[in-house]
Amino acid sequence: MRLYLEVARKSFRRQMAYRTANLAGIAVNFFFTCLRVFIFTSVLAHRTQVAGYNVPQIVTYMCLTEALMMTAGAIGHWELMDSVITGQVAMDLARPWDFFFYWLSRNLGRAAYFAVFRGIPLFLLSRVIFQIQLPANGLTAVLFLVSLCLAMLVSSALGFLTNFTAMWTTDARGVASMVTTVMWFFSGMLLPPEFLPHWLRTLVWWLPFQAQLYAPTTIYLGRTGELDRGQLLALQALWALILMGVGKAMLAAGQRKLTIQGG
């Protein structure tokens, strides 16, 4: 356990080297925040509610999902894929640690970095400029943090799964861009799932992506939709377990068919 904590800490600190890149990232994320706030407030213009959201709720929803995007809604980090391409993966597999949990910790460390250095600045900016809502009470805030941790776990496990397809395809980028597209749609990043027609909304609950952005945001807002917050948390935990199981199974399969590129 201490080993994995150390791995996560190293990953956190490695990310801290990219200060300028993070500043540029904050600017880009904030631009998209403004864009989406403008779009959805005008969707609600002259209407009290659309798809169950009022104006302060939809503004908070947009700001929060954008602030959490890099923490819980991003899988395109190529370190694992690159290690397959360079052959470094053979060394890492031989080390006396659990390869899956090693990468999970690395992804979690990076996610934690983005929570602190991307999420908090964006949250504060949104609070100042768009006066977004705060959690209704202490319990909501605590449950939101729990939900965010689960979201990071789901997102880190998904990051492993997509990157690890490189064991079969060498280039995981194609798979990752497909997954990212579907993920953005079903995680509630592009629009709240409540906007979708009924048949598509059913699909949302059968996919892991809602556990990444929709669940923590809904718990933060204190909204009860088709599921209440207890059910949302349970579903997140279930998805985290399932994806970790799939990750372990994929690792076992990958080890049997390992091809090292180069030498």
């Binding site: 403004c34 864009l35 403008f38 280039d171 597209t181």
Partner: protein, 266 residues
């Protein structure tokens, strides 16, 4: 003339190279198509809930989307060399470009041609065609001539942005993701009517980064829609000069940057 021939030879070699991996090529092209398709689904589902957005119907917003996305998709073919230019600076490969007997601008332009972006272009053109049918556009000869000019100008505008982004690498060496605001962000911004934005946001995209000329003003002209913001209809005809002026500025910046290039020495 020789330059044009050479351009097509270089691009041809680039395309043949990409065709070596046929399955990967097909997968990526399909992925590109669906990625942008889902983008448009978002707009569609919003309109599923509301009849119109500040007086703009689904078809009219689709026209904005189609104009912006098509211009951007064409640019992605032409300007890819500038988009990945930071690799050249990081690895010191730009030194090699400098010693060849052709201009740097031409060489980078002819460096890449990502065929898989056909997926994106296909989607953009489909949305444009859908929009034109759906709104029942009243065609005139002037409009038929205007549409390709507007699309070409849009492409020129995005090219300018990408060149400006590449130029930054001369000083920063690393890639500057900042320009994503104006390419990907800009395309999304330009897919909605200008009136929904705050005043400062609007002014930014009319006067500073004149993206409004890529989709908003052309769409008003094509739709014969009086501008709710009060800009005259002839603003649509400023699109080509504005876009080419921005390109001129970007090329001048590029020239300046090349003169200040210091190799990384790797």
């Amino acid at each position: 003339m020789y330059a044009i021939g050479l351009y097509f030879r270089l691009i041809g070699a680039c395309i043949r190279g990409q065709m070596q991996y046929r399955v990967s090529f097909l997968l990526e092209t399909t992925a590109q198509f669906f990625a942008t398709f889902i983008d448009f689904l978002t707009v569609y589902f919003i309109f599923n809930r509301i009849p119109s957005l500040r007086g703009w119907s689904l078809g009219e917003v689709a026209l904005l989307y189609g104009l912006a996305a098509t211009g951007f998709a064409i640019e992605e073919f032409l300007g890819r060399g500038f988009d990945v230019f930071h690799h050249k600076v990081v690895h010191g490969d730009f030194d090699r470009v400098l010693i060849r007997p052709w201009g740097t601008f031409f060489q980078i332009l002819a460096d890449e041609f990502p065929v898989r972006r056909l997926g994106r272009l296909g989607q953009a053109v489909l949305v444009l065609a859908f929009a034109i049918r759906y709104v029942g556009l009243r065609w005139t000869w002037a409009k038929a001539l205007y549409l390709p000019v507007a699309l070409g100008s849009g492409c020129v505008f995005y090219l300018a942005i990408i060149i400006a982004q590449a130029t930054m690498c001369f000083w920063t060496v690393q890639a500057v993701e900042f320009a994503n605001i104006f390419t990907y962000g800009g395309t999304e911004m330009a897919s909605y009517p200008l009136e929904i934005y705050a005043d400062w946001f609007r002014k930014l995209f009319i006067f500073v980064i004149p993206l409004a000329f890529v989709s908003y003003f052309p769409a008003l002209y094509l739709l014969d829609k009086p501008d709710p913001l009060g800009f005259p209809i002839w603003f649509a005809f400023l699109t080509p000069p504005v876009c080419f002026a921005v390109l001129g500025l970007a090329v001048a910046l590029w020239r300046y940057g090349v003169r200040h290039y210091q190799s990384t020495g790797s």
